[in-house]
């Protein structure tokens, strides 16, 4: 029997992401988790700079528009000033891993009790698809028109693996995807785990989400999903890298 | 308004000596400033500070024309003897400053074996206190009691009250070194 899923009350209007983009799913899952945990009146979402900045008029919880890359630092300020409130830093791969890598690593290093959600679509989406730290080898972007040459630009960054291995004290680290119904369900579990860890005072949590960017990849939504499930997932394995510890 | 420059090697307690004098002045109800030399001039292990005190407002707190110079080594003497005000006094540790000190005829130079005297009373690090006592006297602004009161209160507040007896002894030695 089909069940009609109610749109979470904290999402007030449609967000206009491109067809096939993963951001809408991630925002929806965050909203569902907040609602299920009854934290609608006790959450702050700090939104970085990228296509996902489009979400801010629609998300009806306390929110703040971060500077590009500074999400983890600004979220630190929110958390220390509101220690019992759920604080979420929503960022993209360009925001969190390139211009904001210092802030991103340092928040994990301090084991700051916040949840960082980074949506990895292997390019700078909002500015029209430039190469980012997660662009795949050979991938064509507007700043790597011949395909990414990893010999001169380095290999794509694996941030969750880096955090989980370098800072074993953090609470929870996982990578999910939005490209299959089963993946979406699993991702929701990851996000909820992270939020629960934070509300439980366990420390820093990080969820990376693999997301298609059909517009900038020059693909149809279906092709872009297939690319995530194939090439990208092969390089960026899904799963949990740091499990919550029994407390 | 009095200006005093305290100069020597790092570790000789130069800055504390200056602070003692400034606190004695403040305890007497005067205005005072204490300003250390820092930055490039601090490298090479030398240290100096400038203390100004008096009844009115201290305008420029930085070095201008000291009435008294305390020099605890040769480089300090050589660096600052030129800026001492005409009629001023230069106090040197006679064991540590062994260069020619008769370089100006408009200033008075007082040599005092403060390091040796400190060792004699069993206060190895007390040369700076002896010097503070001597400066308090030479300035002409403080009685021995005023000096002791200001100094001892300062150290007590810093949690170093247990050295009061030996510090007082050192201060008195310096204060009474000249008539």
């Amino acid at each position: 029997m089909a069940v009609a899923k109610k749109i979470p009350s904290i999402l007030s209007k449609q967000i206009s992401f491109c067809p096939g983009c993963g951001h809408g799913v991630v925002v929806r899952l965050i909203a569902e988790c907040i609602e299920e945990m009854k934290q609608e009146k006790n959450s702050i979402i700090n939104v970085g700079v990228g296509c996902y900045s489009l979400m801010t008029p629609s998300v009806e919880i306390d929110r703040f528009d971060s500077l590009h890359g500074r999400g983890a630092a600004i979220s630190t300020g929110f958390k220390r000033a509101n220690p019992d409130t759920l604080v979420i830093s929503y960022q993209g791969d360009g925001d969190a891993y390139s211009i904001g890598i210092g802030e991103s690593v340092s928040a994990a290093y301090r084991n700051e009790n916040i949840t960082v959600i980074t949506v990895n679509n292997t390019n700078y989406g909002m500015t029209g698809g430039q190469m980012s730290a997660t662009t795949m080898p050979g991938q064509k972007t507007t700043t790597s028109p011949l395909g990414r040459n990893c010999q001169t630009t380095g290999m794509p960054m694996k941030f969750p693996e880096m955090i989980a291995s370098s800072f074993p004290e953090v609470a929870y680290v996982a990578r999910g995807s939005v490209t299959k119904p089963a993946y979406v369900n699993k991702l929701k579990g990851y996000i909820k785990n992270a939020f629960e860890a934070q509300m439980n005072g366990e420390g820093y949590s990080l969820i990376e989400v693999l997301s298609p960017c059909p517009t900038n990849w020059g693909m149809s939504p279906v092709e872009s999903h297939e690319r995530v499930n194939g090439e990208i997932e092969a390089y960026y394995p899904l799963g949990e890298f740091k499990l919550r510890e029994e407390k | 308004m009095k200006e005093i420059v305290f100069a020597g090697l790092g570790g000789q307690g130069i800055l504390t000596s200056g602070l003692v004098i400034s606190q004695i002045a403040v305890a007497k109800g005067m205005n005072a400033t204490w300003i250390p030399q820092y930055g490039a001039a601090m490298r090479g292990g030398t240290a100096n500070c400038t203390v100004k005190f008096g009844e009115g407002m201290v305008y420029n707190p930085a070095q201008e024309e000291p009435d008294i110079l305390l020099a605890m080594n040769n480089p300090s003497f050589q660096k600052f003897v030129g800026i001492v005000a005409p009629g001023g006094t230069v106090i040197v540790d006679s064991a540590l400053v062994n260069c020619d000190t008769a370089v100006r005829d408009d200033i008075t130079v007082i040599g005092i074996p403060s390091t040796e005297m400190a060792l004699e009373i069993g206060h190895a690090k007390g040369a700076n206190i002896i010097m503070a006592g001597l400066i308090a006297k030479v300035s002409g602004d403080f009685t021995e009691e005023e000096g002791l009161k200001g100094m001892n209160e300062m150290f007590k507040k810093k949690g170093k009250g247990k050295f009061e007896e030996i510090n007082s002894k050192a201060f008195k030695l310096g204060y009474n070194f000249v008539k």
């Binding site: 703040f64 300020g77 220390r80 | 606190q23 109800g29 250390p36 930055g39 305008y59 201008e64």
Partner: protein, 352 residues
């Protein structure tokens, strides 16, 4: 009688007593004693102390705190303040109050460790990208700094702008007697973010930037009209008026008093607010004044520009404006006096 206290320690304690319970910063000479002091003091008063990974991050951490309505502050010096400018501009864009100490060290780039006044232009013009200003307060003594810190926090909250306590290495490092004010308790700012979503925020996508710009300009005009602060003396009959702030201002006051005793008709204006610039102070000056002399702890002369602009505004544009620039260190009174005499003899050319 109060005890000798170090400038940086007094600044830190004064901020705590003004009700600030949130500090984030990064160590930099000659401001570091402020954060060293707070590393234990904040815990004593139940506040937050964060040693951030860099200057910019510390300012961004303050952004979150200020958006949460908490009275917050940081301390740095010259080049460190440069690194904070991205966040300062962002805070201006979000109307977030803060207080920052700039314990200025002279020089470009990394600069020196010596005292100076080389950040006048940067601090009085906003400093980062955009179209904003911060209130800039320049104390000339430790007790005045302590007083201005409380004033600065209040002004920030009142006008929703940042306040810079623009001071010098020498004031941070020196000691003088200073009484501390009573401890104040400050409530969270109304309308701030606390997770309860009590006050809906406008998204940048739906903001009316034009309306905001007009409102901001009006707010800045109110600050200019109401918040100018200065000290002046002997200007009504002065042939020359010396203008200086901070420790240079202190030295100038001494020099002017001595010059008066020696028969020279000189006066002084000591700006306490560098922004807004105390234009009103110039209205009281003798209409027959021969010239204005900016005394600054830098090489190129910065505040001299604001003096010239102010004279234009107060219909004194024909007056000569000189700059006595001393890089670096606090200028000695006797040096200022000697250079003043050179100006009267025509040996130093006017800048404007």
């Amino acid at each position: 009688m109060s005890d000798m206290v170090k400038g940086n320690h007094a600044f830190a304690e004064a901020a705590v007593r003004a009700g600030a319970r949130f500090y984030a910063g990064y160590p930099i000479t000659p401001s570091t004693e402020i954060m060293e002091y707070l590393s234990t003091r904040m815990e004593e008063v139940g506040g937050v102390f964060i040693q951030a990974e860099n200057e910019g991050a510390s300012m961004n951490i303050l952004t979150g705190a200020s958006a949460s309505g908490v009275r917050c502050f940081t301390a740095s010096s010259s080049v460190g303040m440069t690194l904070k400018q991205e966040a300062i501009s962002h805070m201006a864009d979000s109307d977030l109050p803060f207080l920052a100490f700039n314990v200025v060290r002279y020089g470009n780039g990394l600069g020196t460790l010596d005292t100076g006044q080389s950040d006048y232009h940067r601090d009085t013009r906003g400093g980062g990208s955009g179209d904003y200003r911060c209130i800039v307060l320049a104390p000339y003594s430790i007790p005045e700094a302590v007083e201005l810190i409380s004033v600065g926090f209040d002004l920030s909250d009142q006008y929703l702008v940042g306040t810079i306590i623009h001071t010098e290495a020498a004031l941070g490092q020196m000691m003088e007697p200073c009484d501390m004010p009573e401890m104040k308790t400050v409530e969270r700012r109304f309308g701030a973010i606390d997770g309860t979503y009590s006050h809906k925020r406008i998204s940048p996508l739906t903001r009316n930037r034009l309306e905001e710009a007009v409102e901001m300009k009006e707010r800045y005009e109110r600050i200019k009209a109401n918040e100018q602060r200065w000290e002046s003396e002997y200007v009504e009959d002065a042939d020359y008026v010396l203008v200086a702030y901070g420790l240079a201002g202190r030295s100038v006051i001494g020099a002017v008093k001595q010059l008066r005793e020696e028969g020279h008709k000189v006066g002084y204006i000591r700006p306490i607010t560098l922004w807004p610039y105390p234009e009103k102070a110039f209205e009281a000056v003798n209409p027959e004044v021969k010239g204005y002399i900016s005394v600054e702890e830098n090489a190129t002369g910065q505040m001299v520009d604001d003096i010239a602009l102010t004279l234009k505004k107060t219909s004194q544009a024909s007056k000569d404006v000189f700059a006595l620039t001393y890089a670096y260190g606090v200028p000695a009174m006797k040096k200022i006096k000697a250079d003043f005499i050179r100006i009267t003899k025509g040996e130093i050319k006017e800048v404007y």
